[in-house]
């Protein structure tokens, strides 16, 4: 059992600098929770407050129902994997992993058994006698994880553990950490600024911006139902496209882009919730994969003049402009397109998102 609960957690440096503002969320037992957000939004600070490495300015932190605000890190039964791994350079891999157990005067036979078991899980058996200096980045990362798991703590905290690895290794370690989560049935809080990691690994995602929580939900819900423009733009790669425009009534309700060149019929097919925005500014959001080939002018299809093409092999990214802003569409690689040419495209009307330009909140149905 390990549940963490943050209630109105705030972190201030001095009087003015509030880096975490009123953050509340729960981590359920055995859950893999991901904290994601742009650089400097307070992810590490939040994680370090959970670990006890950083004082909590105000609010309450509970672990298994117990208030732990003033409990020193060692009594919280938490293990943390640091971004730069923080392996002790003067100790062998074995000693690095055994360090915490030794401090707790665990019997030697037990230490060795646990280290060997962790080494087996992580494929480190042949490296136990090496020093960290003689390991590759991926191996070091595994040792750091090994050091965390030998102690069998209640909670694991990860602070961007994969950001120092190359792309391929990152994908591999991603699945390894997910597997480890299943095998250990551990409660994990995982910090990253990489939305792919958040989407693929998390049971739930907490999206932070400037010390505030923007949304907490499962990856799919966050992806399909972002609550505001920031979340919509942050989750998903390539990012969601935004088109500024107006809702107008001319023999039916239309969305018209600011430059007037793009027109999308809204009625009679629904969107009653947009009525309040009649003749007002609105932001349309559409994901690159929700733009398709085909469609006639009458049915809100449009002609895109291609600026840039990015063939990815299995698909192709097509860039064009609306309102002088870059829009990207994700099309099948067989698409017949060339730079300078044009394509007939259409937005998938079932997958549109609309945002209030003032609050940037999503307009709910």
């Amino acid at each position: 059992m390990a549940e963490i609960s943050l209630k109105n957690i705030e972190k201030r440096y001095g009087e003015k600098t509030r880096v975490v503002k009123d953050v509340s969320f729960d981590v359920h037992d055995k859950e893999f929770l991901v904290l994601v957000g742009p650089s400097g939004c307070g992810k590490s600070t939040t994680l370090r407050m959970i670990a006890g490495l950083e004082d909590i300015t105000s609010g309450e932190l509970y672990i298994d129902g117990k208030l732990v605000n003033d409990l020193p890190p060692k009594d919280r039964d938490i293990a943390m994997v640091f971004q730069n791994y923080a392996l002790y350079p003067h100790m062998t891999v074995h000693d690095n992993m055994a360090f915490g157990l030794k401090l707790r005067s665990t019997p030697k036979s037990e230490i060795n058994a646990r280290v060997r078991q962790a080494a087996k899980i992580l494929g480190l058996e042949d490296l136990l006698k090496r020093r960290p200096k003689a390991l590759s980045g991926g191996q070091r990362q595994r040792v750091a994880v090994g050091r965390a798991i030998v102690r069998k703590p209640k909670v694991f905290l990860f602070d961007e553990p994969l950001s120092n690895l190359d792309a391929k290794l990152r994908v591999q370690m991603r699945t390894e950490i997910s597997r480890l989560h299943n095998d250990l049935e551990a409660t994990i809080v995982y910090v990253t600024h990489d939305q792919t990691e958040a989407m693929t690994m998390g049971d739930r995602i907490v999206i932070l911006r400037d010390g505030n929580i923007e949304q907490i939900d499962t990856p799919l819900n966050v992806y399909n139902h972002p609550v505001n423009k920031f979340v919509a733009g942050f989750i998903g790669s390539p990012a969601m496209n935004f088109v500024e425009g107006k809702v107008v009534n001319q023999d039916g309700t239309y969305f018209v882009s600011s430059d007037g060149l793009f027109k999308l019929i809204l009625k009679p097919n629904g969107f009653p919730h947009l009525n309040q925005f009649l003749d007002r500014k609105i932001i349309l959001g559409v994901r690159p994969e929700d733009i398709h080939i085909g469609g006639e002018e009458s049915n809100s299809g449009f002609t895109a003049n291609i600026d840039v093409l990015e063939p990815m092999g299995n698909e192709i990214f097509v860039y064009f402009k609306m309102n002088d802003e870059q829009i990207v569409a994700r099309l099948p690689s067989a698409t017949d397109a060339e730079v300078g040419g044009s394509l007939n495209l259409i937005f998938d009307r079932g997958k549109l998102h609309f945002f209030d330009p003032e609050s940037e909140e999503v307009i709910r149905e």
Binding site: L53, P72, P73, K74, A79, F82, A86, Y88, L103
Partner: protein, 286 residues
């Protein structure tokens, strides 16, 4: 063209002149002296290896070396332990940290003569503040500088006080190179203050410890001002350091040739010690 060829020599000439006058000539001249006797006034007299034979039979010189070693045995460990303790303390978030850092460094820049005279007062048998404190709590007075068994250790303590600031600075630099994540990781693992110091700090600043060891060895071997001012080498030659003995041979007894020979001999001993330490350090590095 000619001017261009001479200009570089002209530019380095201050160093060359300094080197020739204050390094090359004295070394060469002393080397020459080792084969002669000379009392400055009368002409030199060639004695071959006479001076060297005399060194090997000079009990007082070996006593002086022994005294110096006695000094080092107390001075070096004391210096390292005290400096490390102070550096570790000054590396914490304590109040008035800049003030304390400055305060501990102050004795280093104060003249050794001044410090020695100050401590001479502190160590005074009847009027010294140390003994007055001792008697006020009912302890017997100690002959800090008058008891032959104690005097050298008193000087070692004083020298530590004087030099420790320098090594505190060196250790502080060493401590600040230890990445804070190591301590944070250890905090989470449940390490106590002492365990962190023992298992992380000490191994991480190993190179600094060795540097301090070598610097304080060389510094300690050249012990001179303190006994010269405070005891003049007494009582019973118990604080006669090697360098002080060499000085006395030259400028009290005017045995210039013999003093030069002692100087070379002693330099050779220091060289050997540092050489051994260096081998030791290099082995520790692997």
């Amino acid at each position: 063209m000619r001017r261009n060829k001479l200009l570089p020599y002209f530019l380095v000439s201050p160093y060359l002149i300094h080197f020739l006058v204050f390094v090359a000539f004295p070394v060469g001249f002393s080397l020459y002296l080792t084969f002669n006797t000379w009392n400055i006034i009368s002409p030199m007299e060639f004695v071959g290896f006479g001076n060297f034979i005399r060194v090997s039979q000079d009990g007082l010189f070996f006593k002086a070396i022994f005294n110096t070693i006695k000094f080092l045995v107390v001075h070096i460990p004391l210096q390292i332990i005290v400096a490390l303790f102070l550096a570790e303390t000054l590396n914490q978030k304590i109040k008035f940290r800049p003030f304390f850092r400055g305060a501990f460094f102050l004795p280093v820049v104060v003249s050794g003569v001044v410090v020695s005279m100050l401590w001479q007062q502190l160590y005074g048998f009847d009027t010294g503040i140390l003994n007055r404190l001792m008697s006020s709590v009912g302890l017997p007075k100690v002959g800090w500088l008058t008891n032959p068994d104690v005097a050298m250790y008193s000087i070692a303590i004083m020298a530590t006080w004087k030099n420790v600031g320098l090594y505190v600075i060196l250790f502080l630099v060493g401590l600040q190179t230890v990445p804070p994540q190591y301590y944070e990781a250890a905090d989470l693992e449940g390490a106590s203050h002492w365990q962190k110091f023992r298992h992380i700090t000490l191994p991480m600043i190993n190179p600094t410890i060795f540097m301090v060891l070598i610097l304080s060895t060389i510094g300690g071997f050249s012990l001179f001002i303190e006994p010269y001012i405070m005891t003049g080498g007494g009582p019973l030659n118990s604080t006669l350091s090697a360098v002080l003995y060499i000085y006395k041979q030259a400028f009290t007894n005017y045995h210039m040739g013999y003093s030069a020979t002692l100087g070379f001999f002693f330099a050779f001993i220091i060289l050997m010690v540092v050489f051994i330490q260096k081998r030791f350090v290099e082995r520790g590095d692997q």
